[in-house]
Amino acid sequence: MTAFRKVWYMNMENTPLLEMRNIKKDFFGNQVLSDINLTLREGEVIGLVGENGAGKSTLMRILFGANMIRETGGYGGEILLNGEVQKFESPFDAIEAGIGMVHQEFSLIPGFTTTENILLNREPKKKNLISEIFGERMNTLNRGEMEKKAADAIEMMGVNIDPKMVISDMPVGHKQFTEIARELSKEQLKLLILDEPTAVLTEKEAEALLDAIRGMAKRGIAIIFITHRLQEILSVCDRVVVMRDGYIVNESPAKETNVGQITKWMVGRDVKNSGAALETRNHENARTILSIEKLWVDMPGETVRNVNLEVKEGEILGIGGLAGQGKLGIPNGIMGLYPSGGKITFDGKDIPLNAPKKCLDSSFAFVSEDRRGVGLLLDETLEWNIAFPAMQIQNKFLKNYLGGLIKWRDEKAIKVVTDQYIKELAIKCTSSKQKAKELSGGNQQKVCLAKAFALEPRLLFVSEPTRGIDVGAKALVLDALKKFNRENGVTVVIVSSELEELRQSCDRIAIVSGGKIAGILPASSSVEELGALMLSQVI
C-alpha cells in the first residue's frame, strides 16, 4: 500500500461513507420516520429489519432520491456521502453519486441476454462511418468489451451465471443476480441497497447470494440488506439495525445478538407496559362455528398453502403473520374473491368456495383490506356504500310493488340506517349524501365497518382494519369491533399485521407463516412467543 493510499484509507476511516442525520418524514401529518441516524462505512454490511410499516422502505426511498418522497413534501434532516451533504432530486442523482438499489420486483428485459441487461444504455461503443456523419447515436455496440464488463460484474459476486443466456430462460435466482450485477457494473458504485433480495430465492440460491454479499463487501462496497429472514442477517451482516414505528429502536453488532432478541426488538412495543386485552375470554368449551380444512388460496403475493383452523362461536380470533405469508389470503379466499380450494364448514353446513353470493347468504361479512379497491363505491354516497350489500343480499331497504315484481329502493330507510351508523361510529362527514372518496382513510374504514354491520352477519371477517389510519381512529375502529362482538354475539376474525393490535382486541391469535397456521396462542401470550411463530416457517 502506498503512503498516499494509506492516508486516504485512514481518512475514510474517519468520515463514514454514508451518514444519515436526523432524518424525518411525514405523509400529510402522519409521522412515519422520526430522528433516524445511521452511519455506514466502506465495505460494511448492515441488516435493516422491522415489521411492515416500520419505515424501512420509506427510509430507503429517501436515500435513493425517489420522486414519491419529493412529491409528498420532501424530508427533514440531511444525508452525507463521504462527508458531503447530498440532496438528490431523482434516483439518477443517487445513481450518479454511487448508490445502487435492487428492488424486490425485477426490472429486466425478458428477451435480452444477461450481458445486454447488465449494460443496458451504458454499452461500450465503436465508431463507424455512419456514426461519424450522423453522430454517436449511430455507434455500434462493442460486443467484446460488453461481455468482458458483464463477466467482471458477475465475477465480483462470485457466482456462476451465463452472460449469454436470455433472461426469460433463467431461474428466478439468476435474474436476481443479473439485477445485482447490473448495479455492480456501474463503476461509481459505493453503496448497494438490497430490498428483500432473497424473498423469491430458493435456499441454495439464497446461500449463493449471501456469499456474493460477502464478496462484494470485501471489495469495499457497503451494503444495506433488508430481509425478513433473520438468520441471513446474522450470517452475513456486521451490524443489525432494527426499526419500529418510524424509529431506530436498536443497533447492535450481529455477533452480539440472536434471532430471539431481534424479534423482540422488532415486534415488542415496551413489552412491560402494553398488556394484552384486559378481558381475554376463554371459548374452549364453545362449539366450533367455522371450520376450515386444507384451504388453499391463489392470491398473488399472499398464497395460502394449507390452512386448517377452527373458529369458536362468539370469540374474536386474530390472524397475524408477516406480509406475504398468506394471512390475507384466508378471508379473501373464503369469501370467493380469489380462486381457492379446500373445505369450509359453517354451523354444520358445507359452504361452497369461489362463490361470493353463497358466503354472504350464509351470513358472512367481510371488510376487505383493500378499502378503495374492494371496500367502497368511491364515487357514490355514504348511503349507497352502507346500504348496498344489505339491499342486494338480504332485500333490506326495499319497497315492494306489484307483489314483489318491482323492488324499489327505499331512500328513506337507507338514510335512517346511514345516519344511525354515522352517529354510532362517529363518522366525520358533511351528510349521508357525501361521496365516499371525500372522506379520510379512518372514516372510510368506518364506512366499511358500517357496511358489514348493516348485513347483521353471524361471522365477520375484518382484514387489516387499521391499515393507514391514525391512532385515534384505530382505537375507535377496534372498539367498534369489540362492541359488535360483545353486544351482538357475532364471531369476529381479525386479520392484521400488527401484533399489538391483535393482542389488545382478540381472544386467541393464530399466526400464519409460509401459507400455513404456525400455531395458535392465547392473546395474553408474550410478543416473543408470537414473534417466533411468525418467523418459524417463512418462505
Binding site: 369469501m335 374473491l337 361470493p356 353470493k357 358466503c359 354472504l360 347468504d361 367481510f366 376487505s368 383493500d370 379497491g373 374492494v374 371496500g375 367502497l376 363505491l377 368511491l378 364515487d379 357514490e380 349507497w384 348496498f388 350489500p389 339491499m391 342486494q392 343480499i393 332485500n395 326495499l398 318491482i406 323492488k407 324499489w408 329502493r409
Partner: protein, 356 residues
C-alpha cells in the same frame, strides 16, 4: 378596475352555477342562446327554428337515452349503437313487408324489432364481457362490421314489397324508403300543437318521456342499483354477491333494444327508413350529445340526456341557418358537417374526464 372584487362577490351564485352545470355546458348554452337571439336579425324565423330544435330533439332523444344503461354498468359509451339500429330497421322493413299500415305498422315494427334486439344484444353483451376494459373500441368495430354485413343482407333478403325494393330488378331494398302511408309522423301527430309557425310534436315527446321515466324508475330498483354499483366498482359489486357479467349483459341488451326503438321513432319523425350505410352515422351524434349533456364514461343521468340532446341538436340546426343567412350563400351542408363533427370532436375530448 374593481372587477376582481365584483367577481368575488358574485362567485357565490355564478360559482355555484358553474359547479352544478359545468363551464363547458354553460358556454355551449350561451352560444345556443346567442344563435337564437341572432336568428331574427339575420332573417331566420324564430318559431320555425325553435320547432326545428324540438322536432330534432324528439327524433334523437331515445337514441341518446340508449347510452344510459351501458354507462351505468361500466361498459362505457355504446359505440355499437348501429347494432340496435339494425334490429330496428329489420323491424321496420318486416312490418312493411308483412303489409301493416298506419299506426299499426309502428307498433308491429317495435314488436318485430324486439326479438332481434334481444338476440343481437345478448351476443354483443357476451362479447363485451370477454374484453373488459376495451369495450368502447370493440363496440365501435361491432357497429362497423354489423353495418357492412347488413349492406349485403339488405340486397339478399327476400323482400317483395314494391314500396321498398328497387323498381327495375324487383329485388333488393332501396337505400331510402318513404314511410308515407305507414307510420310517418304517427307519434308526432298525436296531440300535436300548432301555433303559427311553432309546431310541437307532443306525442313523440310523450313517448320519449315514458321511456325516460322507465329508465329512471329502473335505476331506482334493486337491479338498477346493482347495475350502477357494477359500473362504479365491479370488485365491490362482486364482493356483495352481484353477478357482474349478468348485470353488464342486461345493460347491453337494454341499450340495444332502446336503440332499436329509438331508430323507429327517428324514422317516424323523419319520414323515411334509411338503410345501408345510414346506421353508421347514428352512433357518434348520440355519443356526443350525452357527453355534452355532462355525462362521463361511467356516470350518466336522464338530465344529461335531455340537456345534451337539446344542446347538440340545437347547435347543429341553428349554426348553419344563422351562418347561411349572414353570408347569403348556401353552404348549409358544409357548415353542418363542420359543426356536427366539431361537436363530436369536442365531446370525445371530454370523455376521459370521468375515467378514474
Amino acid at each position: 378596475m374593481n372587477e376582481k372584487a365584483i367577481n368575488k362577490k358574485e362567485k357565490s351564485w355564478f360559482g355555484k352555477l358553474v359547479e352544478s352545470y359545468g363551464l363547458p355546458r354553460l358556454i355551449i348554452t350561451a352560444f345556443l342562446l346567442l344563435l337564437l337571439i341572432l336568428a331574427p336579425f339575420v332573417g331566420a324565423d324564430l318559431p320555425t327554428q325553435v320547432s326545428n330544435i324540438i322536432a330534432r330533439f324528439s327524433w334523437n332523444g331515445i337514441l341518446v337515452l340508449a347510452m344510459v344503461p351501458m354507462v351505468h354498468s361500466g361498459c362505457g359509451l355504446n359505440f355499437g349503437l348501429p347494432l340496435g339500429i339494425i334490429s330496428g330497421l329489420l323491424g321496420a322493413t318486416m312490418s312493411i313487408e308483412f303489409g301493416f299500415t298506419g299506426p299499426l305498422s309502428f307498433v308491429m315494427a317495435i314488436l318485430i324489432a324486439t326479438p332481434f334486439a334481444l338476440v343481437l344484444g345478448t351476443v354483443y353483451g357476451w362479447l363485451l364481457n370477454k374484453i373488459k376494459g376495451g369495450e368502447m373500441m370493440i363496440a365501435t368495430y361491432v357497429g362497423f362490421s354489423s353495418v357492412s354485413l347488413m349492406c349485403m343482407m339488405w340486397l339478399i333478403l327476400p323482400y317483395k314489397s314494391p314500396n321498398m325494393v328497387w323498381g327495375l330488378s324487383g329485388k333488393g331494398l332501396r337505400t331510402t324508403i318513404s314511410l308515407e302511408g305507414y307510420y310517418n309522423e304517427v307519434l308526432a301527430n298525436f296531440l300535436r300543437i300548432r301555433i303559427g309557425n311553432l309546431d310541437i310534436p307532443v306525442g313523440t315527446l310523450l313517448f320519449f318521456t315514458v321511456l325516460a321515466l322507465g329508465i329512471w324508475a329502473f335505476l331506482h330498483t334493486k337491479t338498477g342499483t346493482a347495475m350502477t354499483a357494477v359500473g362504479s366498482n365491479p370488485t365491490f359489486a362482486r364482493a356483495a354477491g352481484i353477478n357482474v357479467d349478468k348485470m353488464r349483459l342486461l345493460s347491453v341488451v337494454m341499450s340495444t333494444w332502446l336503440a332499436a326503438v329509438g331508430i323507429l321513432v327517428y324514422e317516424q319523425g323523419f319520414g323515411f327508413v334509411q338503410l345501408y350505410m345510414a346506421p353508421f352515422y347514428m352512433a357518434l351524434p348520440a355519443v356526443s350529445a350525452i357527453l355534452i349533456g355532462g355525462a362521463t364514461v361511467n356516470k350518466a343521468t336522464i338530465m344529461n340526456v335531455i340537456i345534451g340532446t337539446i344542446l347538440f341538436q340545437g347547435i347543429v340546426t341553428m349554426t348553419p341557418t344563422v351562418m347561411n343567412n349572414m353570408i347569403h350563400m348556401d353552404m348549409s351542408e358544409v357548415i353542418r358537417i363542420i359543426v356536427s363533427n366539431g361537436m363530436i370532436l369536442y365531446a370525445l375530448t371530454r370523455k376521459t374526464e370521468g375515467a378514474k
